[in-house]
Symmetry: C5
Subunit: 354 residues, 5 copies
C-alpha cells in the first residue's frame, strides 16, 4: 500500500491553536519561492532567495503570484504569514498537510485548501499533495508540499499574455483551481481505462490478481471521494460568497468549474458502483468456474468408485466363488463394468450434471 491513510500530526494534544508544526517528510533543501509579478503590459518572472524579500510585493500595483514549494522550513511560512497579515490558524492549516479541503473568508484575504492529484509516471501511481491558496487584493500565494505540480498550463498562459493577464488575482486563483479539477479528470480517465480493461479480464479469465486490482481501485475511489466532496462545497461557497475579492465575472467561471467538479463526483460514484458490481461478477465467476471443475472431478470419481468395488469383489479369495471358474465370467464382468460406467455417464447427462 503506497498511499498512507493519515499523515502523522506533529501537534501535541492540547497545544495552542496556531502552533506551527510541519507535518510530512522532512527535507534539507531550502523551499523554492517562485514569483510571477504582472499587469496587462509587463510580466516579471523570477525566483526569490528568501521569504523576506517577497514582502515588498504586497504594496505594489501589480498582481503577484507567489508560489512556495516545500513547507518543511516553518520559518519561511511564518515570515510570509506575518508579512501578509495571515491569521495564526491559517498558518497552522498550511503546514498541517492533512487538512480537509475548505475555504475560509477573512476580511482581507480568502484562504483555500485543496488537494492536487499528480500522476507519477515513474511509479505509475497517483500522488496527492495539499495546495493552499491565499487570495488577497493584489496577490495570490500558493503553498505546495514539494516540487512538481499541474500549473504549467497556467504559467504558459501568463507568459503568452492572454486574457488571464487582464483579469485580477481571483481569476488567477480560479485558473489554478480549474487546473487542479482538470487533473482529477486526467486521473479518472486513467482509472476508467483500467476499469474497462479489468472488466474484459473478468469476463475472459478472472485471476486472483484481478481481485487485488479491484480492491486497490475501490480503495482509491474511497480516498478520492473523501477529497473531492469537500472540493465541491469549497467551490460552491467561493462562488456564492459576496466578497470584494471575487468579482462577478470570475463567478461565472467558478460556476463552470463547479459543474466540472460535480462531474468528477458523479464519475467517482459511478466507478464505485461499477467496481462493486465487478466484485460481485468476479466472485460469481470464480465460484462458477470452481464449481464446474469440482463437478467434473467428482463425477469421474463417482463413476470409478463403484467399478473399483466390483473389481474388489472378484479379487476376494473365497474358496467357493462359483463365478471365478466360469469361462465367460471375466469378459462378462468387463461388460458389466463398462455398461455401468456408460450408464452412469448417461444418467449424469440426463440430469444435466455434465
Amino acid at each position: 500500500m503506497t498511499r498512507k491513510l493519515l499523515k502523522k500530526r506533529g501537534k501535541k494534544i492540547g497545544a495552542a491553536p496556531g502552533t506551527l508544526i510541519h507535518v510530512g517528510e522532512k527535507s534539507e533543501a531550502a523551499p523554492r519561492i517562485h514569483v510571477f509579478d504582472y499587469d496587462q503590459e509587463h510580466l516579471d518572472q523570477r525566483e526569490y532567495p528568501d521569504a523576506a524579500s517577497c514582502l515588498a510585493l504586497r504594496d505594489t500595483d501589480t498582481i503577484s503570484w507567489i508560489n512556495v514549494e516545500g513547507l518543511h522550513q516553518v520559518k519561511v511560512i511564518e515570515t510570509l504569514g506575518q508579512g501578509f497579515g495571515l491569521h495564526p490558524l491559517v498558518l497552522e492549516d498550511i503546514l498541517n498537510t492533512d487538512q480537509r479541503p475548505k475555504v475560509e473568508i477573512y476580511d482581507d484575504y480568502i484562504f483555500i485548501v485543496v488537494k492536487m492529484l499528480i500522476y507519477d509516471t515513474e511509479h505509475e501511481g497517483v500522488r496527492t499533495e495539499q495546495v493552499s491558496f491565499v487570495l488577497g487584493n493584489n496577490f495570490v500565494i500558493s503553498f505546495q508540499e514539494c516540487h512538481g505540480d499541474v500549473f504549467d498550463g497556467v504559467r504558459e498562459r501568463l507568459r503568452s499574455g492572454r486574457r488571464i493577464r487582464f483579469l485580477g488575482p481571483d481569476y488567477l486563483t480560479y485558473a489554478l483551481i480549474d487546473a487542479i479539477v482538470d487533473s482529477h479528470f486526467f486521473i479518472l480517465e486513467k482509472i476508467g481505462d483500467e476499469i474497462e480493461q479489468l472488466e474484459d479480464e473478468l469476463l475472459d479469465d478472472p485471476s486472483p490478481e484481478s481481485l487485488n486490482q479491484i480492491h486497490r481501485l475501490r480503495r482509491e475511489m474511497i480516498l478520492l471521494r473523501k477529497s473531492v466532496w469537500p472540493l465541491r462545497e469549497l467551490i460552491s461557497e467561493l462562488g456564492r460568497e459576496e466578497t470584494p475579492m471575487v468579482s462577478r465575472e470570475t463567478a461565472v467561471f467558478l460556476r463552470d468549474v463547479y459543474d466540472h467538479c460535480i462531474q468528477v463526483i458523479d464519475t467517482v460514484e459511478t466507478f464505485r458502483d461499477l467496481l462493486g458490481g465487478m466484485l460481485d461478477l468476479y466472485m460469481s465467476n470464480v465460484s462458477n468456474r470452481m464449481n464446474e471443475i469440482m463437478k467434473v472431478l467428482t463425477l469421474i470419481a463417482t463413476i470409478f468408485i463403484p467399478l473399483t468395488f466390483i473389481a474388489g469383489v472378484y479379487g476376494m479369495n473365497f474358496e467357493y466363488m462359483p463365478e471365478l471358474a466360469w469361462k465367460w465370467a471375466y469378459p462378462a464382468v468387463w461388460g458389466i463394468m463398462i455398461g455401468l460406467g456408460i450408464g452412469l455417464v448417461f444418467f449424469f447427462k440426463k440430469k444435466n450434471w455434465l
Copy 2:
C-alpha cells in the same frame, strides 16, 4: 464492453477556459446544418452549406431551428458561436461531449446540455449522444454529435403545421427535450423486457450467461442513472427559472415532461433493485443446484467406500483366514454388502439427505 466509460478529453490541464477542442471521434465529412425556419403560416426547410450563411437567421422575425450534426469541425461551432453571441465556455461545453446534463441561463439565451439515447437496431445496443441546445428569442440551435436522432416526430409536427408552429422557440425546445425523455422510455421498455425474460430464465435454468447479462444490465442502469438524475434537475430548473425566454404556457408542458423524467428515474431505480435481487436469486439458485449435485455424488461415494473396504478385506492373502474356506462365506459377504448399502441409503433418506 461497447460503451466507453469516459471520453478522452483533448484539453491540456491548465488550458484556458473556452479553448475549443473537439472530444470524440474525428471524421472527414463536413457537418450537416439543417434549418427549419417557420412562423404560423410559412415553413422553410433547407440545408445550409456552411455556418456563416445561417447567421442572417438571427435577425429575422421567424423562428429558426438550426440543427448541426457533427462537431468535429471546430470552425463551424466557432462561427455560429460568434454570430449568435455565445460565451466561450458555452462553445467549449458544446464540443466537450462528455458533459453532465445541465442548464445555464445567460442574459440573451439559455444553454442546455442533455444526453440522447438511441437504440441502435444494427448492433442491438444503446448509443448515447450529447445534444446541446441554445434557446434564444427567435431561434433554437441544436448540436448533435453525429447523424441520426429521435426528433423525426417533432419534424413531422412542424411540417404538418400544428400547434407547435403557433408557439415560440421555448415550446420547440420543450418538444425536443420531450422527445429525448420519451426515447428513455423506449429504451427502458426494451430493458424491462430483457429483465422479465431473464427472471424466467433464472427460475428455470440459470446459466453463467445469465450472470453476465445481469452484470451488463446493472452496468447499463448505473450509467443511465448518471445521465438521468441531472436531466431531472435541468428540467426542474428550466421550468422554475423566471426568464422571458420561457413562457408560462410552456412551463405547464415542462411540468409534464418533468413528471415523465421522474418516472424514468423511478424505473431506473426499480430496475436496479430488481437486478440486485436477481443477482441474489442467481447466486442462491446456482449454489442450491450445485449443492444438490455434490450431495448426490458424495452419497454415492460414501456408500461404495465401505463396501470396497469389505471386498478389500477378503482380498487379503493371509494363510489363516477361516472365512475363506467356509462354503456360504461368499454369498454371506454379498448379503452383508448389499445390506450395508441399503442400510446406508435408508439412513441417508431418514436424515433427509437424499
Copy 3:
C-alpha cells in the same frame, strides 16, 4: 412472472403532447359509465349509455360522481374531456395507464392519478390498476382501467345517506382515496401473513421454494414501493394546496389519510428489511445444513480410506510376506483396523468435527 414491469406505450417518440393513445389491453366491450348524482336529500344512481349524455351533469346543482370503467375507447374519454374542459395533457395521462401517481392543480379542477391494488381472489395475486380522478366544483370523474374496484364501501355510504352526502365532492374524493389506501393495508396484511409463515418455514425446513417466495415478495415490495411513495407526496400536496376545491374540513381528513399512507410506507420498508434479513437467514441455514451433510459424508470416507489401504497391503501377492503365514495375523489386522477406525472417530469427536 405475472405482473409486467412496464406497459407498452403506444405513443411514438416525439409525438405531440396530448396525443390520445390507449395503453394496455384492448377490449371490445363498451366502457361502463356509472353515475351517482346526489345532494343531501336525493340520490340518483344510474348507468349512462354514452359519454355525451353525462355532460349535462356539469351544470346541475347536485354533486355527480361519474365513474368510467374501461379506457379502451379513446372517443369516450375525448368526449368527456371536451365536455368538462380538461387539458389535453390530462386526457393523455388518463389513457397512459403507466403513470406515476401525481396531483395537478388546474384553475377549474384538480387532476389526480393513483394506483389501486386489488386482491384477485381467483388467481391469488395482486392486480394493480390506475385510477384517475378529476375533481371539479360539483363533480368527480373517476377513470378505471376495467371492472372491479375497492369503492363498494363508499357506494354503500352514499346510498345510506350518511355524512358523505352532506359534504362536497372534495370529501367524496377523499373517501375514494382513503378506500385505495385502505386497500394497501389489506394487501400488506396478506403479505405480512405470508412473511410470518415463511419465517417459520425458514427456521424449520428451508426449501428452494422458500427462496423463490422470498424473491417474489421482495419484487412485490420493490414495485409497491414505487407506487406508494408518490402517493404520499400526492396526498400531502392535496392537503397543503390552497384551492377553493378542497375545503378546510376535508383537509383534516386528508391529514388522516396521509398518516395512513406513511404507515403503509413504513410497513413496506419494514417488510423489505425483514425480507433482506430472511434471505440472509435462508442462505446461512442452507449453507449450514449442507456443510453438516458434507462433513459427515467426508468423515465416513476419511475413516474407510486408510482401512482400505491396509486391506490392500495384505492383498499384495509378494512371495516373501512373513505376516501372511502368521497364525494370528488376520485377527491382528482386524484389530488394527477396528482400532484405527475407532481412534479416528474419537479424534474427530475430540476436534469437535462430529
Copy 4:
C-alpha cells in the same frame, strides 16, 4: 415468532372515517378506568365503574388523569369521546391499535399516540402496546390496550406530592412520555447484554443457534426502529408547537426527553450496524471452520489414495511380475509407501496446507 407484524384491521375497505372498530384481541373483562384527580394540596385516587361517571371531571378546577385500560368495549371509548368532545377520527385512531406514533393538535386538546415497550418477565420477551393520550386544559386521558404499564414511577411521584403536583397536565403528559422513552432504554439495555454475550459466543464457538438469535435481534431492531423514529418527530413537534396547552416550562423538559429519544434511535441504529457486522463475522467464522475441517479430511484422503494404488498394483495376479519373487520387494514397497506418505505430508506442510 411471537410478535405479529401487523394487527388485523377490522375496518372494511371504504368504511366511513370515524367508524369505531376495536383492533386486537377481544376480552370479556370490563375496561378499568382509574383516575388521579389532584391539585397542589389534594389528591383523589379512585377507580370509576363506568365512563359516564368520569365526565364530571371535565369541568372541575383540579387536574384529572383518567387512565383507561382495555379498548375492547367500543362503547366506553365512545362515551368518553363524546363527553370530552373528541373528533371521530381521534376515537378511530385510539381503537385502531396499529397506529403510527403521531401527535395531532386540535383546538381544545392535543392527541398523542405512542408505543409502550413492556418487558414481559414471564415469557422473557418484549411486548408492544399502543398508548394514546388526550391532553386537555385540565385533564389527561390515557388509553392502554391492557393491564400493566410503565407508569408506576409517575403514580408514586403523584402520591408523594412532589413537583409534578404543582405543574399542569402538560407536565403530567411529559412525565408519562418520559416513562415510555425510559422503558425503551430498559429494553435496549437487555438487548445490549444479549448482543455482547452473542459476540463472545461468535468468537468462541459459533453455533447455528447463534444465527437464529442474530436474526431474531435484527428483526426486533427493525420493528423497534419503525416505532421509535416517529416518536422522535412527535416529541419534536410537541415541543415546537405554539399552543396554550404546552407551557414554556414543560418545553424545557420535552427538549430533554427529545435528547433521550435521539439517543434511543442512535442506539437502535448502532445495534443494527453491530448485528450486521456480527452476521458477517458468523458467516466468515463458520466458513473458515468448515474449510479447515474439509481441508484436513481431504488431505488424509489424498495421502492414502496413491498408497492404495500402489498396494493395488502388487495385488494384481499377472504370472510374470518379477518383483513379486524378490526377497526384499515387500519391505521395499512398505518403504516406498511410507516415504511417499511422509513426502506428501511435507509437501503439504511446505505449501502451508496443513
Copy 5:
C-alpha cells in the same frame, strides 16, 4: 469485548427528572476537585478538599476552571449544582454518563456534554469517558468520570501565561474541546496504522485472526461514529448560538475545531468503507486459497482413482483371464497406467485446471 455497549442506568422508569443517580462503577476514593483560578497577571492553582469551599469562586473577578474528577459522590455534584445555580436536569445529565454529546444553552450558563477518548497504554485499547462542561460568565466547571485526561497541554499553556490567560472562559472551553477533538485524531492515527498493517497481512497471508481484527475495528468505528456525529452538531450549535457567553473571537476558533471535527467524521466514514472493502477482500482471498487447495487435492484423487480401478481389475481371481498369462502384460499395464496418469494431467492442464 472490553467496551460495554450501554452503561446500566440506575434510574427507575418513571422517576422524576432531575433525580441524581450516578451511573458507572462505584469507588470509595473522594472525588478530586482541582482549580485553576487566573487572570492576565495571576494564576492560582490548587486542590480543594470539598465542593462547598469552591463556591466562593463564583463571585470573584478572576476566571476559574474547576475540574472535578470522579462522579460517584452525588453529594459533591449536588453542592456544586446548587452553588452555581444549575438546573436539576443538568445535574442528572452530568451523572448519567451514558449521555449523547449535546449542548444546552441556559440563561446564565451553557451546558456541554462530550466524549473524551483516552488511549490506555497499559491495555492497548481505547477508553471512552464522558466529560461535561458548564461554561458561565467567569467560570468553567468540568466533570470527568475518573482520573486521567487529555488536558495536560491546556494546563501547560495556562501555566506559561500565554494567550489563553488573556481570553475569557469561552476560549478556555474551546481549548478543552479542541484537546478532545485532537485526541480523536490521535486514536484515528493508531487505528489507521492498524488498518494499513492489516491490509498488508490480507494481501500476503490472511489468517482467521485478521477476520476478528477487522470485526473489532468495524465495531470500534460504529461506536466512534455514534459519539462523533453529535459532537459535530454540538460545536456547530455552539459557534452559531448568539449568546453573551461565547465571544465573536472565540467563534473563529470554534469554526476551526468544527473543521477538525468534520475531518474526524470523514476519516471515520472512510475507515468504515475501507474495512468493508477489506472484509470482502479477506473473504475472497480465503475462498480463492481454499479453492486452490481443494482443486489440487481433488485432482490428485481424480488421477489415482481410475488407476486404482485398473489395478483392481487385474487383482481379480477369475480362472480364465488370458492377460494374466501374457509375458508383457504386467509392463503393458504399467504403461497404460502411466500413460493414463500423464494423459489426465495433460487434459487438466489444457483445461486450465492445474
